[in-house]
């Protein structure tokens, strides 16, 4: 591939790719996301290939291992283009039937279609399934059409057009203005306006600047960030390159853990392809702008996602948070001006440049624009990766997209934001996916949603998060390290039937001091799951302490017969 040196050349390459592709040609897409691969997607793809060959129609039908379309609960997911017929929980044994019935016979295989649990009706097309229909999928909607390992697939979907536009039609300042105008806020949950952060960094005097993409995602049970990156790495990469151009950074890093090999592999390949096409390296698209992107493998550990710990670890120092009075946009990585953004923040940038800030603002609320990609797990019927418009209520997320609880058991709470987030009870489900509403409700807009039903013991679940933090805190400062230790001690007593009067007040005292005195946001937020449940489910704690009873029947020491694992 010769380097692409101008927007015109890019469009030529795109036309050439499209001319080789017949939009009406049949294509069998099998989700090759980590979750579907784990449930056998690799074998399913192989079975389709073998079957097509056997029936001697392999020239007429393409196969593709695609980015994750999100319905992980029902994987492996198979979609047949161009009609977008969607089959769920497909096994290699189904390949023959799908090919004879659907590819050759043009009839759907009824038993593999989605069944509406209310009506019993079969749904043929992917976007008619309520799980998909009720989402707004600006970021992940194309995943099923894209092989994450193919830059041509990304280009066929209009990829890198935003980069060409930014570099040739806009000054760096105009890009920043557009991003500011879009209202894009930090998707790590920080909610910090991205455009403003970029502007601080651009205006910083030092010539050498860095950009970092935070793909760490250490929240237990959450997988939205890594699945998004893994499913469409070029989208994230394009956002990073545009951002680096706007900020004036010469070096960019993708910070990602090697516990997500699929994400690392796909991103590494994407960087290599982008270099080969001229979207990275010297004089990108003939603009005179140079950029290198490298992958920085993190050593694991939740706290490494925190910005000062992350940068310390990238510099080869111990990955512990540090009290800092300089903004990273003035003195960040190696004391150079640095912008650190979450991968979802970066992924939105091409959308904003392509469609404009006004278009972007059409989705969402005044203070929270665009969409948010979550993973939703726990006792929910349709677990998976979802993209929802900001402003959607949690109730709609749970019932319209998630399909409600997995069994007939009653909904109890949804946990938002992981170990530093909070719980929302049924009575407060009108809370919207909106930074400010979530903050007011004691929640953090992290990437993971976990649903609990009445078989979940809230005390046990809070204990789970604190146990996680007990290991994942760096252990440097007293209120976090010893505060968590004592909180866990008290909670363990409570669930073991040794709770005492005054325990809840003591928990509240530790939380108050920890929130005020801990060094970093991990310690400051460590008590949030506890505090939100003391507010909404206090009687459940009291039942454990005063009546020595676990209302959910989970805590063994209090007479529960079922096993105690909740999450």
């Amino acid at each position: 591939m010769p380097l692409i040196k101008s927007p015109e050349e890019l469009e030529k390459v795109r036309e050439e790719i499209l001319s080789r592709r017949d939009p009406h040609k049949l294509c069998i897409s099998v989700c090759a996301g980590a979750s579907c691969l784990a449930s056998g997607a690799g074998e399913v793809i192989a079975a389709f290939k073998a079957e097509l060959e056997k029936q001697n129609i392999n020239a007429d039908v393409d196969t593709k291992g695609s980015g994750c379309p999100g319905f992980c609960e029902q994987g492996p997911v198979v979609v047949i283009h161009p009609e977008e017929i969607c089959y769920l929980q497909v096994t290699p044994d189904d390949a023959g039937e799908i090919i004879s019935q659907t590819i050759v016979g043009k009839k759907p295989v009824e038993r593999l279609l989605y069944t509406d649990p209310d009506t019993g009706n079969k749904v043929v097309k992917m976007n008619d399934i309520p799980f998909y229909k009720n989402q707004v999928r600006h970021l992940i909607g194309n995943n099923i059409k894209i092989d994450p390992k193919s830059i041509d697939d990304y280009l066929a979907q209009g990829g890198y057009a935003a980069l060409a536009k930014a570099m040739h039609e806009m000054s760096p300042e105009q890009v920043i203005e557009e991003v500011k105008e879009s209202g894009l806020r930090g998707r790590s949950g920080s909610g910090f306006p991205a455009g403003r952060k970029w502007e601080f960094c651009r205006n910083s005097e030092d010539e050498h600047k860095y950009v970092i993409c935070n793909c760490h995602e250490g929240d237990p049970g959450s997988y939205a960030d890594r699945r998004l990156t893994e499913g469409n790495p070029h989208n994230v990469l394009e956002g990073i390159i545009i951002g680096a151009y706007a900020i004036g950074a010469q070096d960019a890093f993708v910070f990602v853990g090697d516990e997500f090999p699929q994400t690392v592999e796909n991103m590494r390949l994407a960087i290599k392809q982008a270099e080969e096409y001229g979207f990275l390296g010297k004089d990108i698209l003939g603009s005179g702008f140079d950029l290198t992107v490298r992958i920085s493998i993190d050593g694991g550990g939740y706290v490494l996602g925190e910005s000062t710990a992350l940068m310390a670890s990238m510099e080869g120092r111990i990955g512990e948070p540090k009290t800092k009075y300089d903004h990273a946009t003035d003195r960040g990585l190696w004391a150079k001006p640095t912008v650190l953004n979450n991968l979802q923040t970066w992924a939105n940038v091409p959308l904003i440049i392509n469609n404009g800030a006004a278009w972007f603002r059409q989705t969402g609320t005044d203070g929270s624009t665009g969409t948010r990609v979550f993973s939703i797990t726990g006792k929910i019927k349709n677990s998976g990766m979802i993209e929802v418009p900001m402003g959607m209520s949690l109730k709609e997320v749970i019932y319209d997209i998630g399909g409600g609880t997995v069994t007939d058991k009653k909904f109890k709470a949804i946990q938002v934001g992981g170990p530093l987030g909070g719980f929302v009870p049924e009575s407060q489900l009108d809370v919207q996916v909106d930074y400010d509403q979530m903050t007011d409700a004691g929640l953090a807009m992290g990437p993971g949603l976990i649903v609990a039903d009445e078989s979940t013991c809230i005390v046990d679940m809070v204990k789970y998060f604190l146990t996680f933090l007990a290991h994942e805190s760096c252990g440097k400062c007293t209120p976090c390290r010893d505060g968590i230790r004592q909180m866990l001690h008290i909670l363990n007593n409570i669930t073991a039937g040794r709770g005492n009067k005054g325990d809840l007040e003591l928990l509240e005292l530790i939380s108050t001091v920890q929130k005020k005195a801990a060094l970093c946001a991990l310690g400051q937020g460590a008590s949030d799951p506890l505090l939100s449940t003391l507010k909404h489910f206090r009687e459940e704690y009291e039942a454990h302490i005063e009546e020595k009873r676990c209302p959910a029947g989970v805590c063994k020491a209090l007479g529960a017969v079922s096993s105690g694992a909740n999450v």
């Binding site: 009290t323 290991h471 400062c477 007293t478 108050t512």
Partner: protein
Amino acid sequence: MGEVTLTIDNKEVKAEEGMTVLEAARSAGIKIPTLCHHEKLEPYTACRICMVEVESRGRSELDTSCSRPVKDNMVVRTQSEELTEIRRTLLELMLSHAPDARELQELVEEYGANRNRFAKEPSFCIHCGLCVRYCAEVKKKNAVVFVKSGVRREISFNKEIASRECWKCRECFELCPTEALQTAYLLTEALTSDSSSFELEPDA
């Protein structure tokens, strides 16, 4: 370096730019408790006992005085009910590990800390990191380091370096606010003369 004027506990204090609030307070004879602070070492901000209330440019917040740079017109309060509650609770958390640590005793009296508020987990270490940092920053030897994270964090002597360096140094011993360090070292010493592969790993 310019001079700045700030107010600490209603007292006007002059300080050099680049000083910390703690240094400015101490120069004016105002006492702020510290445990992990040491003049020769970088601010560590781990024990949190030196937290004060800082008002600067219209914003009021709690911060560690050992790290906070002074600013002109800054207003600092080193005592308040809130700060007392924080310091008392921090002390009580530390007492659960090292109830007899000598440096805690005076503060325990001053802040009315309850020795039995929290369950005891005697490790004798309050994780101030003085030994670890002194060895790294001043002696540049890294003979004693922190190992493990979170609630399992503990100090550990590197047997190889310790057997080479510590015997003639031992300067960190007197920095330790508890008795833990000397014990840990003596254990290590005992182990280095032993060829067994036994690891120093008390229960978390």
